[in-house]
């Protein structure tokens, strides 16, 4: 059964991607019975779509890297279930839409192909994650700076200076972002996981989180292969705000060379000192 979305396309009028976003939105609505949200009306009068947004998951279709539709959703604190970026789809598709502001035959075929991908997309088979390996209770150190209280685990975690943590159990590890990050970014609206099976070197990007304020690529503290991702974050990215070090884990990896990676990581006390320094500089 195809998923029914509330569909928010971009409204770009000065580039090919905008009209193509609209064509994708129309095709998805036709194939799945979803409803299109006018971005201009939403921007001017959001109560108009309140009921719809409460009933259906939200699909955002951005045309280009400016991501106006995503920004509009973020400004209105809307949780996003699924995102498509037409500029990226154009790079990977064998169909190359014509230049120009009105979609030509290839452009329309491209739009239908993207819509079919969206409509037919089944959620990835839930890969079993190793929750039992990471269920020991965590104790936290806290420190207060002005009105902020920051938490850092007291041990059992390592950090890189990009504020991402790793928690190891044997040859398996979980990664995520620190409390400092979730407080800076504020309310999370979207989580783009890495791919299961993806090989990651230390300091490679491993997923993206977006909030009402900004977005951040997670920088992996360790190298390895992604063996599981936290599916709960896809529907509920706010778990990262609520519980960044435990239930807010982002991905699980099978490690390649932890000993070598550890040379470049901070232990908990060292990361606590780093957060104190960062808080003093920016808050």
């Amino acid at each position: 059964m195809p998923k029914k979305y509330a569909i928010l396309p971009c409204n770009g009028l000065d580039k090919a991607q905008g009209p193509l976003s609209r064509e994708v939105a129309l095709a998805v609505a036709e194939e799945t019975g979803g409803e299109i949200i006018c971005p201009v009306l939403l921007n001017n009068s959001s109560p108009r779509y309140e009921k719809l947004l409460g009933e259906l998951p939200l699909l955002v279709i951005d045309g280009c890297g400016t991501k106006c539709a995503s920004k509009l959703a973020a400004n209105l604190n809307l949780k996003v279930d699924r995102k498509v970026l037409i500029a990226d789809e154009m790079k990977t598709s064998v169909l190359k839409p014509e230049e120009g502001l009105s979609p030509g035959p290839v452009g329309l075929e491209f739009a239908r192909a993207v819509a079919t991908l969206i409509s037919e997309d089944m959620p990835e088979e839930a890969v079993e994650d190793a929750t039992s390996l990471f269920s020991a209770p965590v104790s936290y150190a806290t420190f207060t700076h002005e009105k902020y209280i920051f938490r850092v685990p007291q041990d059992g975690f390592f950090f890189n200076e990009n504020d991402c943590w790793v928690r190891v159990s044997g040859n398996r590890a979980r990664v995520g972002v620190s409390d400092y990050v979730q407080q800076n970014l504020t309310d999370m609206t979207y989580f783009e996981p890495p791919k299961v099976g993806q090989a990651v070197e230390q300091f490679d990007e491993i997923g993206t989180i977006e909030s009402v304020k900004s977005s951040m690529d997670l920088i992996s503290p360790v190298g390895g292969m992604v063996v599981a991702i936290n599916n709960a974050l896809i529907a509920n990215p706010e778990i990262i705000n609520e519980d960044p070090y435990e239930n807010g884990w982002v991905a699980e990896l099978e490690l390649t060379d932890l000993e070598s990676d550890r040379e470049l990581l901070l232990d908990c006390p060292a990361y606590l000192e780093l957060v104190k320094k960062k808080a003093a500089e920016t808050h």
Partner: protein, 93 residues
């Protein structure tokens, strides 16, 4: 910022910052609007956009490149940057 280091190395010794390809840049300023660290600067004159504060750039962050529609932003190689950082650390720098 006092004591500005990354992984124990003085920030100014690490080559990590965006490079703008001016043959592609359309001066939309999305990178400048996105970056919270004031790496970029919008100027009168030519070019209208420059990387004014390369050492403000967070090492290993490449987020601004994703905002760039014409793909005009590139970054150094991460493996080379990691190797350079390790070398400086070994030399005690």
């Amino acid at each position: 910022m006092a004591d500005d280091t990354f992984m124990g190395v003085k920030r100014e010794l690490i080559d990590w910052y965006p490079t703008i390809d001016y043959s592609k840049c359309n001066f939309c300023m999305e990178c400048d609007k996105f970056c919270p660290h004031k790496v970029f600067e919008h100027r009168d004159g030519d070019p209208k956009l420059v990387v004014a504060n390369p050492n403000n750039c967070v090492v290993f962050c490449r987020a601004c490149a994703k905002t760039c529609d014409p793909d005009a932003i590139t970054f150094p190689s991460k493996p080379e940057t990691i190797a350079a950082i390790k070398k400086i650390r070994e030399e005690g720098g």
